[in-house]
Amino acid sequence: MDSGSLAWVLISAALVLFMIPGLALFYGGMDRSRHVLNMLMMNLYCALVVPIVWVVVGFSLASGSNDWIGNFDFAFLKDIGIEDGGGQIATIAFLGMFAAITPALISGAVADRMKFSAWAIFVPLWSLLVYVPVFKWVYGGWLGDRGSLDFAGGTAIHVNAGIAALAAVLVLGKRKGWPREAMPPHSMPLVIIGTGILWFGWFGFNAGSALAANGQAAQAFMNTFLAAAAAGLAWIVVEWLRDGHPTTLGAASGIVAGLVAVTPAAGYVSGMAPIFIGLIAGVVCCYAVRIKFKLGFDDALDVVGVHFVGGLVGSLTIGFFANPEFFAGEFHAGIFYDGGWGLLGEQALANLAAIVWSFVITGVLMLGLKKTIGIRVSDQAEAEGLDVTEHAETAYH
């Protein structure tokens, strides 16, 4: 890796790390003030435990030539040096950030009622049992080999975490009072701080996934810029027409939905495609976040509506917009670029595989924890606030 690319991968990795507190604040601001520290902790905890798991064994299991799962060759980063100028170490760190933020996404769904001890066990297990296999299938495994595309983790990260969030809340149950009681965000400025950090960091997430400072990185960057803008715009326009007001939370949510949707596509689409992807994601997710009220699952901060649905939208639109010519790339073209329906089929299959695996294993994991140490705090703790009961702290004095 030349020094320019190394600089780009390193700063991109730092940007992805920064997204973890960004996500924590995005979620924390939306939360109620007596639970906000628990939310911050659930996110921070992912940044504490997953890096260790990743270098000890996770990366090794996610590598290798096998189609399904790696081996222990690189456990404890064995034999990984810097003779190559640092590219490999930088890449492992970069991927470690991805591994850390993925379970953090789930925290928004289980907010305000999950035992922290259960979360503390859930995260490393989920990383190894769900994240690592799906990652492996998509990047260097059977799904990727078949030709499905996922530039920066639409399937491997957003769809994966989003469907896991659904499985988790189905086992965990609803918050007391939901949906009867109003649970508005306790601090919208925190949400916007989080949104700003997320958008900023997502440039590293997506454009860094080129693993080089090159044309693909530049285009991924531009796509990240445009899709977020378009989705934010679409979301507030829908709100304006439908509910009568464009909202700040809508703008923020739209931005995130656009970022999610463009994630799998960032290095494969060009021109006005990111704007279309963003517009679609903004409209679809703006409606998708209301499904939970219809179906009655308490996905507290809309991980399903934004990450699962947004990720799926992005992943499937690749089937239409993928443009190998623009990138002089070796991947399949989408329908709009005369690639036929094949790619769309592969995208559907890849997501289906991820959804099934993630949903089932996450559900089993949560059920296992429920049967053993328990996953839910007492009603009294829920009423008093998890900050005090789980962490012996209060957010504001």
């Binding site: 007596r34 009072g177 009681e181 009294q380 009423a383 008093e384 005090v388 012996a392 702290e393 209060t394």
Partner: protein
């Protein structure tokens, strides 16, 4: 006219509002307060230093009502917010000499 003051658990505010409105109350003024009582507080820990927090979040309601409405409102309120657990709070009633509705200048019971 009487002033009913109630200190209740915060998450009971909506129930309280519905109950008193059903019982005929026309308005409520609410404040965030912290209460110390039998319920006891909790301990917080910051960098290993334990702090005893004796005051826990409560919500205070103030309602001006007609003399004859007092009992109905108090009973409705009490039963709406009671959980039977320690810390449910208090209701107290005091006499009011005069009430003025600022907008109209009305005084007395009409001002409620």
């Amino acid at each position: 006219m009487k002033l009913i003051t109630a200190v209740i658990k915060p998450f009971k505010l909506d129930d309280a509002k519905e109950a008193v409105v059903a019982a005929g109350a026309k308005g409520i003024t609410v404040s965030e307060v912290r209460g110390f009582g039998r319920q006891g507080g909790h301990t917080e820990t910051y960098r290993g230093a334990e702090y005893r927090i004796d005051f826990i979040p409560k919500v205070k309601l103030e309602l001006l009502v007609d003399d004859e409405a007092v009992d109905t409102v108090v009973s409705a309120l009490a039963s709406a917010v009671s959980t039977g657990k320690i810390g449910d709070g208090k209701i107290w009633v005091t006499s009011v000499d005069q009430v003025v509705r600022i907008r109209t200048g009305e005084r007395g019971p009409d001002a409620l």
